[in-house]
């Protein structure tokens, strides 16, 4: 094993996002999506060194979610690890494995199929600790509303839409649905150059307090630290150099606030793939779904002679407790310019 100084690229992706999948089980969806990603390169599971999975026991309704999902991704007889804290963390861990020289090709798969749950809101409620937050009915939507109200600064909310949780209407919130995302990462030299989608420039991630009362929900403390990590290591990949960003935040209010907070350059493309409510996702995979779109945008800029940077941002936990940022480029290497 050796730490790699070679480039690391996304070489294949596959996704499925659907409002309510009634004809396939979660395992069938995972199998089909993984197979599609492998087939796109003519690879089989045996060409993969490690499988990194991202799932949530409660949302999946599986006591140990890695157990039924390892077979469908092709992980039997392979090194398989479940990163359960967020889908973005799973992608970052796949990246770390290649950086560490531990793997040359890694398949990352993450999912959520809330439609299999009898009551997804209750599954989210169980993510609230049992002493205080659970008894007040905390879940992703209510914490998103608390955060959004912090951005109002006294402004009146004028809408004809029905509030889901004030000040949020359905259009302000991420769409809900069943989704599976698969990304294959590889070290330079272990794939055909033309199969590269996007080079990974860097990743930053951090967490902040669980206690909603202990943090300013408008502050994005974890995002600030995650971005600082990237800036310190890799100045050329810092937010002011991005050409596009896909933000998987808890509401459109938060997307706007993140955009302001990052001090992005004028004209940058923000969530060009669509607004939050347009996409069928789930809080657990929302960040990864946006990273997938950042990869896609980067792939589209592949032929450009100019360096093109697209970032994906995801949050995990109530009102953005944790944040993760990945920066993708159409050109290889660290750019400290």
């Amino acid at each position: 094993m050796s730490t790699t100084h070679l480039g690391i690229a996304v070489i294949a992706t596959a996704s499925v996002e659907i409002h309510h999948e009634t004809s396939k089980s979660l395992e069938e969806m995972i199998f089909e999506t993984s197979k599609r990603a492998l087939n796109s390169l003519g690879l089989s599971a045996d060409d993969i060194d490690a499988f990194v999975l991202g799932g949530n026991d409660q949302i999946d309704g599986r006591i140990i979610s890695i157990m039924p999902s390892t077979g469908p991704v092709g992980g039997v007889n392979h090194d398989t690890t479940m990163i359960a804290s967020s889908s973005e963390h799973a992608l970052i861990y796949g990246y770390l494995r290649i950086m560490a020289g531990q793997s040359k090709r890694v398949l990352v798969a993450s999912w959520a199929k809330p439609s299999e749950s009898v009551d997804p809101d209750r599954a989210e409620l169980v993510s609230a600790e049992p002493y205080l937050l659970r008894s007040v009915g905390m879940n992703e939507t209510i914490s998103a509303a608390l955060q959004a109200s912090r951005f109002l600064n006294g402004k009146v909310v004028n809408t004809n839409e029905k509030f889901v949780a004030w000040p949020l209407t359905r259009k302000d919130l991420p769409g809900r649905g069943d989704s599976v995302h698969v990304v294959i990462l590889a070290q330079e030299g272990s794939f055909e150059v033309e199969s590269q989608f996007a080079w990974i420039c860097d990743a930053g991630w951090a967490t902040s307090s669980y206690e909603l009362g202990a943090r300013d929900l408008a502050n994005f403390e974890s995002l600030k630290i995650a971005c600082n990590q990237i800036t310190q290591r890799n100045l050329g990949s810092s937010p002011e150099n991005w050409n596009a960003v896909e933000i998987g935040a808890s509401s459109e209010y938060a997307v706007n606030a993140v955009t302001e907070f990052l001090q992005l350059k004028v004209g940058i493309s923000v969530n060009a793939s669509g607004c939050l409510s347009d996409q069928f996702t789930s809080p657990f995979v929302l960040g990864l779904s946006r990273m997938m779109r950042a990869i896609e945008v980067t792939k589209n800029a592949k032929s450009s002679k100019d360096r093109y940077l697209a970032a994906g941002i995801g949050f995990n936990g109530f009102a953005g407790q944790g944040a993760a940022v990945m920066v993708f480029s159409n050109t290889k290497g660290v750019h400290n310019d």
Binding site: T3, T70, A84, L96, S127, Q321
Partner: protein
């Protein structure tokens, strides 16, 4: 290559129930003990990897988010691993990756479990099988491993006394370990007379439901050199996965036999190759292996190539694998059979192995231990993690 070592290990004195602490406070206990042992504070830690197995056992979904403040992880990179029972060790391997990537110099792995508070752990664990097929048998971790034990007895002409010998050895070892949960020595007769849980597994063959915390601190070689530290070096790591389906563990189309742990053997082979181990019986001094039931330890010893298939009972009868015996000592801490706080059981295996090669374990120290192995098992004997540790970076001969 970035070498990675372990400079700190902390663990609770395990017991069935703790009413003096909340879950986050218990997690903090593990972190504090590990950091204190490493001689650092949380401020020195670059990133945190948190082991937590089934959410349902603590009754909080994504329970890792709840304990972040208690861990002191706010403002730091943080990830949670969930590989079932292997989690505690898979998390250490994940932390190894963090350091080996070159991004971090100091990574903390700390967590806790309070298995007895889940009401019925076995009822929870029954739900890990497929709802349509195998859950209704009904399987749980005891019945699943009773099937494996029966198969082992059938294939290798073994009996319940062989299993009892494992318990006797582990309890003797645990009696020397102040942190172990079950520390009372036991006789073969007492094990055989204990009530049957799922034949041939009896109460005397089974692990306890433990409450407590544990943590380890991993550092890069450059950090160790800068701070004049002498870590236990991680020389090899391996992971492997089995099929989910119990029905696919035997028969013409199975890849292995439920009597054995062939997928674990493959994980050991990966770690051994990295570490340069070619003759495990003579090169390894200590094995801290994950075996929640006595029957499991028999085939894990064999998967680690410390005995041939079906031959570990013979070794036990001849006094092998025991403190004071010849050859590698297996589970000098008493092992998982005497202490099983699921989320951190694998972390304890690594920490005990690290302390062994550093000569720091106390009464259950294996004299002159230089090379140790650790392993963990998760899911329905589905996920396997292995590690080789050594007191130095010289060739393992």
């Amino acid at each position: 290559m970035i070498n990675v070592g372990i400079i700190g290990f902390g663990q609770s004195r395990f017991q069935t129930k703790r009413t003096d602490v909340t879950f986050p406070e218990l997690v903090k206990e593990g972190a504090d003990l590990a950091l204190a042992d490493a001689g650092i504070t949380i401020k020195d830690v670059d990133a945190v990897v948190y082991p937590l197995a089934p959410d349902a056992l603590i009754g909080v979904g994504n329970g890792e988010r709840w304990v972040i403040d208690a861990l002191g992880a706010t403002g730091k990179p943080f990830m949670r691993v969930n590989n079932g029972g292997a989690t505690g060790m898979s998390a250490v391997l994940t932390a190894w990756t963090h350091v080996a990537s070159g991004l971090f110099d100091v990574v903390l792995v700390a967590g806790a479990d309070r298995v007895s508070e889940s009401g019925s752990a076995q009822s929870v664990l029954n739900k890990m099988w497929d709802v349509g097929y195998e859950r209704t048998i009904p399987l749980n971790t005891i019945t699943m491993l009773a099937l494996s034990a029966q198969r082992y007895m059938h294939l290798y002409d073994s009996d319940e006394t062989d299993m009892a010998l494992v318990t006797v050895k582990n309890r003797k070892h645990a009696s020397l370990n102040p942190y172990a949960h079950l520390r009372t020595p036991i006789t073969v007769e007492e094990v055989l007379a204990s009530r049957t849980l799922a034949w041939p597994i009896k109460l005397g063959d089974a692990c306890p439901a433990s409450t407590g915390a544990a943590g380890v601190v991993l550092v890069s070689e450059r950090y160790a050199q800068r701070n004049n530290l002498k870590p236990a070096w991680i020389r090899g790591i391996g992971q492997n996965s089995e099929t989910y389906w119990m029905g696919a563990r035997v028969g013409a189309k199975s890849q292995g036999d439920h009597a054995d742990a062939d997928a674990l053997a493959h994980a050991f082979d990966i770690a051994y190759k990295q570490a340069g181990i070619t003759d495990p019986v003579n090169q390894i001094d200590v094995a801290e292996i994950y075996a929640p039931f006595s029957s499991v330890e028999l085939h894990v010893i064999e998967a680690a190539h410390l005995a041939e298939k079906g031959k570990s009972p013979e070794g036990l009868r001849n006094g092998k694998f025991t403190l004071g015996g010849s050859g590698p000592v297996v589970n000098p801490s008493g092992g998982t059979q005497c202490t099983n706080p699921i989320a951190v059981t694998g972390t304890i295996r690594v920490g005990e192995a690290a302390n062994q090669v550093l000569g720091r374990t106390g009464a259950h120290q294996v004299p002159n231990a230089r090379v140790a192995i650790a392993s963990a098992i998760g899911g329905d004997h589905q996920f396997y993690s292995t590690m080789v540790l050594c007191s130095d970076l010289e060739e393992i001969s």
